[in-house]
């Protein structure tokens, strides 16, 4: 009997090529053993100013430069390329959505906005050429930061009053009335700054126009091949069938490589067709900082009413979201904050309203967690404030507000990011709480804190809970093809950025089909293999493509059994498939291997190979009927799509113990613990890897990383020297992990997404632990030692209540 691979820590198949330096990333396309032949390179002139009108662009000196092939500015764009880029996800509340042009038209709205596009023999010459372009500007006052955007003394876009792109209010019950009547009331102001995904590989695109067959091939480092394909077709006025998009190996995404599309994803194919040459654009690190998306920047005001037990009666949240200069991805991030803020709790009455604001900074699109870290931070800080106000244990206040295991499915009464009801499918929050308390040593901490205090040391503990809607629709598909060699070729359309899809999807196929794991080869993100697909974001790949692959393998198996039953003169019910061999149960000698079944599935029986010769001993089909029966197809394939009713909701809890240095205010992590529930695990090794990475990214976001814009809209820390991404030295030596497996009833495998979870509670959990160590409120994240030092000095001058802005109800 073949051992089930679902749930086992299978080593990754993709590692073999990565470890040998044989991965194929987008900048590697077109490079052979003799180097890179015949590929032209692009460079982009980017605005050095945050807000300016463009008076003139002079490119005269560019074409004199040897090795330069072409230069484009807005005036050279025609047809759909001259229109604004798409507003990919419109929303009725987004009354003032604005998108940029592929190359700036008349004005620039952030440092880094693309103005001109040069193609040359190599990147060095292309950059030389960019340096020769002269642009005259009329400077406009920049709007930087949420406060300035709200004050609206200056406008980012002349025709957007108050810099407000959108205002959206959602109500469940009557929160203001419930708060007014509640026994206790608190108000909090909570801030989170901007950060960014920062994958190790920046963006990149290569395109080749094949004039012989009128076809465009695009390789791009994207999270959505099909989206880029549709965008290229529309913008270049090609039929969809003329465009192939292939996503090769991708050096990390974390959200920023989502498609809307990026200007270069259109400009590169445009240039390739115009010049009849392969053209490559590879973003450098500074470009990534100033022209690829950021996220996280939000300011929140919370009013909460509760009773003596800490039970919520009403929650009223107003927040302001900084979406940067443009809104190509709509309101996804603030909508997720609005809805996912609720976490595992029942607020009874909830009102949430946000304004999404323009600033003269890089645009905002989802970054791992996508608005959830802000929501979790807001809710969990509120829980901590209630506990402090009532003098209760922080876990008790959380526990009284939990949705209970027997209350699922639980409808929060709101509309989620996918336009469907915010209905949680399953979970067990009280069990998670017990696990996290045990894992971090919650009940023993007060003794530890006292003993450390006696030694002159400050330590604090924090805990945060989250619920994450994962596996959002609308669909993914899969195609499984069993070749005559017995090898199983699997394709799914979404892309891969390091999640080990080639391994976990092969596990699912091997389990369902009964073939050997080694015979399965998985291809992702190639529109030639799977033209209908959505993409890899929102922790959806395992749930969506995993389920689709499982279903497609099931279909292929049905066909295998039907043909094999005919060949072996047995009933399909009596057959089993083990290690790629179909046999009659209890009679192992009566067997046929998958490769031979594949030969039999095709009535065109040329004896190309040994498998075909071997197949001649079997006879299938009815000689009185057509060789391919009605309602059947030649070939041994299975194809299916998975489209769930709604998202499945994963959950988890993090806890941390920190020490803060009494003199320097340096923050040290003593212990970090994670309890994670993503339903059934396909590969626990890969899930834990995702958690490790998420926690590290969260530590970066909570303690180190921020986008340091000055008042003129210059990003002062646009390098890895100044934007402080954690090295191993900033990450604790161990991260304690415990799993809970509450299966989802919404998909055949009972799985939930796991990709983003690790980063969601970080700001909340560190703010809580530092507050516990210091004894004054932490309401702005990230926090550096200098800021903590400042807060200490201020708290000595003007002692602050431990309940921020707490006002008891009359």
């Amino acid at each position: 009997m073949t051992t089930k691979l679902m749930g086992t820590p299978v080593q990754r198949v993709e590692d073999q090529r990565f470890l040998r330096g044989q991965g194929r990333y987008v900048d590697d396309i077109g490079v052979g053993p003799g180097g890179e032949q015949g590929v032209l390179h692009a460079a982009v002139l980017r605005s050095p100013h945050a807000h300016a009108r463009i008076l003139d662009i002079d490119v005269d000196e560019v074409l004199d430069l040897e090795g330069v092939h072409a230069v484009w500015t807005y005036d050279d764009l025609a047809g759909p390329m001259a229109e604004p880029l798409p507003l990919l996800i419109p929303h009725p509340a987004l009354t003032h959505g604005r998108t940029q042009y592929a190359l700036a038209k008349d004005e620039v709205n952030h440092v880094g906005e693309a103005i001109a596009f040069v193609v040359a023999d190599d990147r060095y010459v292309a950059e030389d050429a960019v340096g020769r372009i002269k642009v005259s500007y009329d400077f406009l006052p920049p709007v930087v930061g949420i406060d300035n955007a709200r004050a609206a003394a200056n406008l980012v876009h002349d025709d957007v009053p108050g810099n407000v792109g959108a205002r959206l209010e959602q109500n469940v019950g009557d929160a203001p009335a419930a708060i007014a009547k509640a026994p206790h009331r608190l108000e909090l102001d909570l801030t989170i700054e901007r950060s960014a995904c920062m994958p190790m590989e920046g963006r990149g695109t290569v395109a080749r126009w094949d004039a012989d067959i009128n076809r465009m091939q695009v390789w791009t480092s994207t999270q959505t091949s099909t989206g880029v394909r549709a965008a290229v077709a529309v913008k270049l006025e090609l039929d969809l069938g003329q465009v192939d998009v292939i996503t090769p190996d991708v050096g990390g995404g974390f959200g920023v490589k989502i498609n809307h599309p990026w200007p270069e994803e259109l400009l590169v194919p445009m240039a390739a067709r115009t010049l009849g040459r392969t053209v490559k654009f590879t973003e450098d690190r500074r470009e990534h900082f100033i022209s690829s998306a950021h996220e996280r920047g939000q300011v929140h005001h919370v009013t909460v009413g509760f009773d003596d037990d800490g039970r919520l009666h009403g929650l009223d949240v107003e927040f302001w979201h900084d979406h940067g200069a443009y809104t190509p991805y709509g309101l996804i991030v603030p909508i997720i904050t609005s809805t996912q803020l609720l976490g595992p709790y029942k607020p009874q009455n909830y009102r949430v309203v946000f304004e999404s604001l323009y600033t003269n900074t890089v645009m905002v699109t989802p970054y791992r967690g996508a608005g959830r870290p802000q929501g979790c931070y807001t809710m969990e800080r509120t829980m901590d404030a209630i506990a402090a106000y009532l003098g209760k244990d922080r876990t008790e206040v959380r526990a009284v507000n939990f949705i209970q295991p027997d209350e699922f499915p639980y409808d929060q009464g709101m509309i989620f990011q996918d336009g469907r009801e915010l209905e949680y499918d399953s979970g067990d929050y009280p069990a998670s709480l017990e696990k996290i308390k045990a894992l971090i040593g919650w009940d023993d901490f007060p003794t530890f804190q006292k003993s450390m205090a006696a030694a002159g040391r400050k330590v604090g503990i924090g805990l945060a809970c989250y619920v994450e809607g994962t596996g959002v629709g609308p669909y993914e598909g899969a195609h499984v093809h069993i070749e005559t060699s017995g090898k199983v070729k699997v394709a799914t359309g979404l892309t891969t950025q390091g999640q080990g899809h080639a391994t976990v999807f092969a596990q699912l196929v091997a389990d369902e089909l009964g073939c050997s794991f080694e015979d399965v080869e998985v291809v992702t993100g190639d529109t030639r293999r799977m033209p209908y697909a959505v993409g890899t974001f929102a922790s959806r790949a395992a749930v969506m493509s995993g389920s689709a692959i499982h279903l497609a393998a099931k279909r292929a198996k049905e066909k295998v059994l039907k043909i094999a039953a005919d060949a072996l003169e047995a009933s399909p019910d009596d057959l089993q498939i083990v290690d790629g061999v179909v046999s009659v149960k209890g009679s192992p000698g009566t067997s046929i291997d998958l490769g031979t079944v594949s030969v039999l599935s095709n009535p065109l029986r040329y004896a190309f190979d040994e498998a075909s010769k071997a197949a001649t001993q079997f006879s299938v089909g009815d000689p009185g009927k057509p060789p391919v029966p009605e309602d059947e197809e030649p070939g041994l394939e299975g194809k299916d799509f998975y489209s769930p009713e709604r998202a499945t909701f994963a959950s988890g809890m993090h806890a941390v113990i920190v020490e803060t240095d009494p003199l320097t205010a340096e923050i040290t992590i003593l212990k970090y613990a994670v309890v994670h529930d993503c339903g059934h695990l396909i590969n626990p090794m890969i899930v834990e890897g995702q958690i490790h990475g998420g926690v590290a990214q969260g530590i970066g976001g909570a303690l180190y990383e921020r986008m340091a814009y000055d008042e003129s809209g210059q990003l002062l820390n646009a390098s890895f020297m100044d934007f402080l991404m954690p090295y191993v030295t900033e990450i604790p030596d161990t991260i304690a992990i415990d799993h809970l497996e509450t299966p989802s009833p919404l998909n055949p495998l009972g799985i939930k997404g796991a990709g983003e979870a690790g980063v969601i509670p970080s700001a909340a959990v560190f703010a809580a632990a530092i507050e516990d160590a210091e004894g004054f409120p932490i309401t702005a994240m990230p926090i550096s030692p200098s800021e903590l030092f400042e807060l200490r000095s201020r708290s000595l001058v003007e002692p602050v209540e431990t309940t921020p802005e707490g006002t008891p109800a009359p």
Partner: protein, 183 residues
């Protein structure tokens, strides 16, 4: 204006290559785009992330901070050269596979070369020394937990293989290539 070209002979993974490059061409670009060794990755081009680390005369160097012309007559080892002559994974590579020390794989070549040099210098590192060994390389996917484990595992594998006569990260043998002239 055309850049003056310079003839540079460098030995990469035991194979001599002759390239003609402008003085400003980075070693990382020469390896990737002139020699076709795309295993070396460029993550920041300012020497901070470590993805482009190669061994120059056995020492880890950021190939984005070195000009190709300064590699004249140097012996360079890239990630491709860490694999055994028979195509088997070298000990550091093997340890990464066993410990799930990589996700997207983009930073990995720099870690592999750095650790290879690190274990040559210190074949029996303590846990703290394993962490220190990788403290100059950025990874955005793994949170480093499994990379530290991989360093410890690689040290085990190296000490096992050295008792059987194989070195850490043995390079492939010398020969000639299509782009270069002779070995």
């Amino acid at each position: 204006m055309t850049d003056e070209l310079h003839d540079v002979r460098m030995t990469v993974n035991g194979v001599a290559h002759d390239v003609r490059v402008p003085a400003r061409r980075l070693l990382s670009d020469a390896l990737r785009h002139d020699l076709g060794l795309t295993g070396t990755h460029v993550g920041c081009e300012h020497g901070v992330c470590g993805a482009c680390t190669v061994l120059v005369d056995g020492r880890p160097m950021r190939s984005c901070l070195m000009f190709a012309v300064s590699a004249v007559d140097a012996e360079i080892t890239t990630v491709e050269g860490l694999t055994g002559a028979d195509g088997s994974l070298g000990p550091v590579q093997q340890a990464f596979a066993e410990c799930h020390g990589l996700q997207c794989g983009f930073c990995t070549p720099g870690f592999l070369t750095t650790i290879t040099a690190g274990l040559r210098e210190n074949p029996h590192p303590t846990h703290e020394e394993c962490r220190d060994m990788i403290a100059g390389n950025l990874c955005r996917c793994t949170g480093y937990q499994n990379i530290v484990k991989a360093v410890e595992r690689a040290a085990e594998l190296v000490s096992t293989s050295s008792t059987t006569g194989e070195g850490a990260g043995s390079t492939t043998g010398a020969g000639s290539t299509s782009d270069g002239e002779t070995a």
